[in-house]
């Protein structure tokens, strides 16, 4: 167990990170992510009002659809990344990172005093991820198998209302399930009764999201990085790029128009030695051009991978760089995200 954002979290269960990781890629992994923040935001014009805080396009979301976006500060820096679900025209469901949740909710409440923010601190959140997640969950809750990726729906189970999202942070198909805290353990045990389901700890959660090319807040993105530097331009629609209307829009639009001075890139190492967060990135002359923000061994690929920020001149796919580990240069190439193909369920 390790302390994480004020919670005691298991890095790994007895099987270990490698086994847990590969189990999630081949069957179904169960993650306790109850430390994450959940809230409803409701009121008149909630969609337009919420769009003043994030660059994501909430207005174009269909009812029951989910978007990945970021809370930005006035300089276009990322305060947190999050998922927003459009429940109706006047109600959103928000899921934010554990380490940021108190400041996120305070920020939202301060910025949008006309809206009602209901923080769901008595609901647990568990994620079921992997190619068999749908088969497992649909045995308990028929119909979940039909939900497309990034959609949400409520289901009743033994008299308990579950908020189910077909989403996750592993690159696999799967679900995130919000369950009242007193029913969480029994619901988790029900899932674990299926032999295809195993507990997965924080360690494998990190290696899975790294393979999927997804950012870990506070490491790969933070208040000093804009979404464009963070290679998250895909999360900003054409309309929002053009209209702006979110914090730091001027700088974000400048980065979109002219290119950001640096960019988050994927790095595939040629050798076996991993490069971890903090390793410097050098060009072929030895000049330092960036820094690794996440890195490690990719169990699915059986080789090390990393992501980090480099000067835009060194961000093109295929650029050969060196990652400096223990004073030695480890050869690496800039590659596209994700490192491992994602397997989201796009629809029946």
């Amino acid at each position: 167990m390790v302390p994480f954002a004020g919670y005691d979290m298991p890095v790994q269960y007895p099987d270990g990170i490698l086994t847990e990781h590969l189990h999630t890629r081949s069957q179904a992994g169960l993650f306790d992510v109850s430390h994450m923040g959940q809230a409803f935001l409701s009121g008149a014009n909630v969609i337009a009002r919420f769009e003043t805080l994030v660059p994501g396009d909430v207005a174009s979301l269909g009812q029951g659809r989910i978007r990945y976006t970021q809370l930005l500060n006035a300089e276009g820096g990322i305060l947190d990344d999050m998922m927003v679900t459009r429940l109706s025209d006047d109600r959103l469901f928000l899921v934010v990172n554990a380490a940021c949740k108190h400041q996120d909710f305070a920020h939202i409440a301060r910025a949008l005093p006309d809206l009602k923010l209901d923080i769901l601190d008595t609901r647990a959140l568990i994620a079921l991820q992997g190619p068999l997640a749908s088969s497992v969950l649909s045995q308990l809750l028929p119909g979940v198998e039909l939900m497309p990726f990034m959609s949400a729906k409520n289901f009743m189970h033994n008299g308990v209302e579950l908020y189910i999202s077909r989403s996750g942070y592993t690159g696999e198909d799967g679900y995130e399930i919000s369950v009242p805290e007193h029913q969480a353990e029994s619901f988790a045990q029900t899932l674990l009764a299926d032999a295809r389901v195993k507990w997965i700890g924080l360690g494998a959660r990190d290696s899975l999201r790294l393979e999927a090319g997804l950012c870990l807040y506070g490491h790969d993105i933070d208040t000093t990085t804009t979404p464009i530097e963070g290679d998250l331009i895909w999360s900003i629609s054409k309309r929002r790029r053009a209209e702006g209307g979110f914090p730091g829009a001027a700088l974000v639009q400048k980065h979109i128009a002219e290119g950001a001075p640096r960019k988050r890139v994927g790095l595939a190492l040629d050798g076996k030695a991993p490069a971890r967060e903090g390793a410097e990135i050098a060009d072929s002359t030895g000049a330092i051009v960036g820094r690794v923000t996440s890195g490690g061994f990719a169990p699915s690929l059986q080789k090390p991978i990393a992501m980090g920020y480099v000067d835009v001149a060194h961000a093109a796919l295929g650029t050969e760089l060196n990652l400096i580990v223990r004073g030695k240069p480890l050869p690496a190439r800039v590659v596209a995200f994700p490192f491992v193909p994602t397997r989201y369920f796009r629809g029946p």
């Binding site: 990170i17 290696s207 971890r276 061994f297």
Partner: protein, 125 residues
């Protein structure tokens, strides 16, 4: 007759004559988790007691392996470079790291014996 001594950093040294076989303990491999990479020194390298002799990386983290005693590295276990998992499976056997020609056997007395190490591990967990 061999004798095994332990460091507070969870290395072991199994003494066979003038040579000590160095690796990490079962407790250490359990704490590290799945080992995915090891970096070994060149044979012939002279190391001082407590100096970095090798590197072991698990999925979780990188750790140094320190020389339990001073001496010259006379052999390294190339098998764990190709199969780092041996360090988890058999840390005291096939998962050894290196052999040191011990410079001064008096340094061994500064290390823990089996009973002292087991007591030390109990206090760690």
């Amino acid at each position: 007759m061999s004798e095994t001594r332990y460091t507070k950093d969870h290395e072991y040294i199994r003494v066979e004559g003038d040579v000590g076989i160095v690796g990490i303990t079962d407790f250490a491999q359990g704490q590290l988790g799945d080992v995915v990479f090891v970096e070994l020194p060149q044979a012939g390298k002279v190391v001082a007691k407590g100096a970095e002799a090798a590197v072991v990386e698990s999925v979780k983290a990188a750790s140094e392996v320190y020389a339990p005693v001073s001496g010259e590295v006379v052999d390294v276990n190339g098998a764990i470079e190709g199969q780092p998992g041996l360090v988890n499976e058999d840390p005291a056997g096939k998962g050894w790291f290196l052999k040191i020609k011990i410079k001064d056997k008096a340094e061994l007395s500064e290390l823990m014996d089996e009973a002292a190490y087991q007591a030390f591990v109990s206090s760690c967990s």
